[in-house]
């Protein structure tokens, strides 16, 4: 009844596969996030950006899903970035150690530049 409204979509920009996440990131997000990841990986993505939109609600079950993505990213030799997190969730991502495995950018533009700089 009070299930999440999360919309997940994918697009590509300057060689970066962007997964846009709008809404709540909780246990109900698992299928949507994993299949978006599988899709861009199937298309050969090497650089992946999880692009949030100042989401108001990300809980520990949602973070567990993202850690699962990091596992896959490491296995597949991809590079992961995260952008668009509020200050609060940037802090949370650092708290759980995600910041060690994914570069945290303020916004999409900064992330695209960051990926480009890392490539050259």
């Amino acid at each position: 009844m009070l299930e999440d409204e999360l919309s997940v979509s994918t697009r590509e920009r300057d060689g970066v596969a962007i997964i846009d996440l709008v809404g709540d990131v909780t246990t109900f997000a698992e299928e949507k996030i994993n299949s978006a990841y599988a899709q861009v990986t199937g298309q050969g993505a090497k650089h992946i950006l999880l692009n949030f939109r100042q989401n108001d609600y990300i809980n520990s079950a949602g973070i567990a899903i993202l850690i699962g993505i990091v596992t896959e990213v490491n296995r597949n030799n991809q590079k992961l970035g995260v952008s668009g997190l509020s200050q609060h969730f940037q802090k949370i991502f650092r708290m759980v150690g995600l910041a060690q495995y994914a570069d945290i950018y303020q916004d999409e533009d900064e992330a695209i530049k960051g990926f480009a700089a890392a490539t050259t």
Binding site: T27, I63, H88, M95, V96, L98
Partner: protein, 144 residues
């Protein structure tokens, strides 16, 4: 604390209700003068405590309710999250860090209590004889 609760909230053990609890308690804390980032911290901590009560303490049994009680004192806001204790909380040693999780040596879940501990000033299960789990969160008011 022996005072009467100021605001109480109760809801069925269905995931999703923790979102309403987050927002209700946030509104309360804001009205008590907590600043924005403190309120964000409280929302995340309280949401995790409610999910634990829903999932673990009440085993996602919709008929069992979770009760959130707020107590206000001069210097602090105390919140008690109460479930029916279908499963009693048992401390389980150390919390696995992200490295163990990534190496497949620990489950991906299991970060809620650790997050709560870092987000509020005090947190933990309290003793009670009513058969349920009581989880207590405390936020001290910072004089600005």
């Amino acid at each position: 604390m022996t005072s009467h609760p100021s605001m109480e909230l109760s809801f069925p053990s269905e995931l999703g209700y923790e979102k309403v609890a987050r927002e209700a308690v946030a509104a309360f804390a804001r009205r008590l003068g907590c600043d924005r980032e403190r309120v964000e911290d409280l929302k995340t901590a309280l949401g995790e405590a409610c999910i634990n009560a829903i999932e673990h303490g009440n085993g996602r049994t919709p008929g069992l309710r979770v009760e959130v009680s707020c107590f206000v004192a001069d210097d602090r806001l105390e919140i008690d999250v109460h479930d029916r204790g279908l499963k009693r909380y048992e401390a389980s040693g150390t919390v696995a860090g992200i490295d163990l999780k990534l190496r497949g040596l620990a489950p991906l879940r299991g970060m809620g209590l650790m997050m709560i501990a870092q987000l509020v000033d005090e947190a933990g299960f309290t003793e009670s004889s009513d058969g349920g789990n009581h989880f207590r969160l405390v936020l001290y008011f910072r004089k600005i």
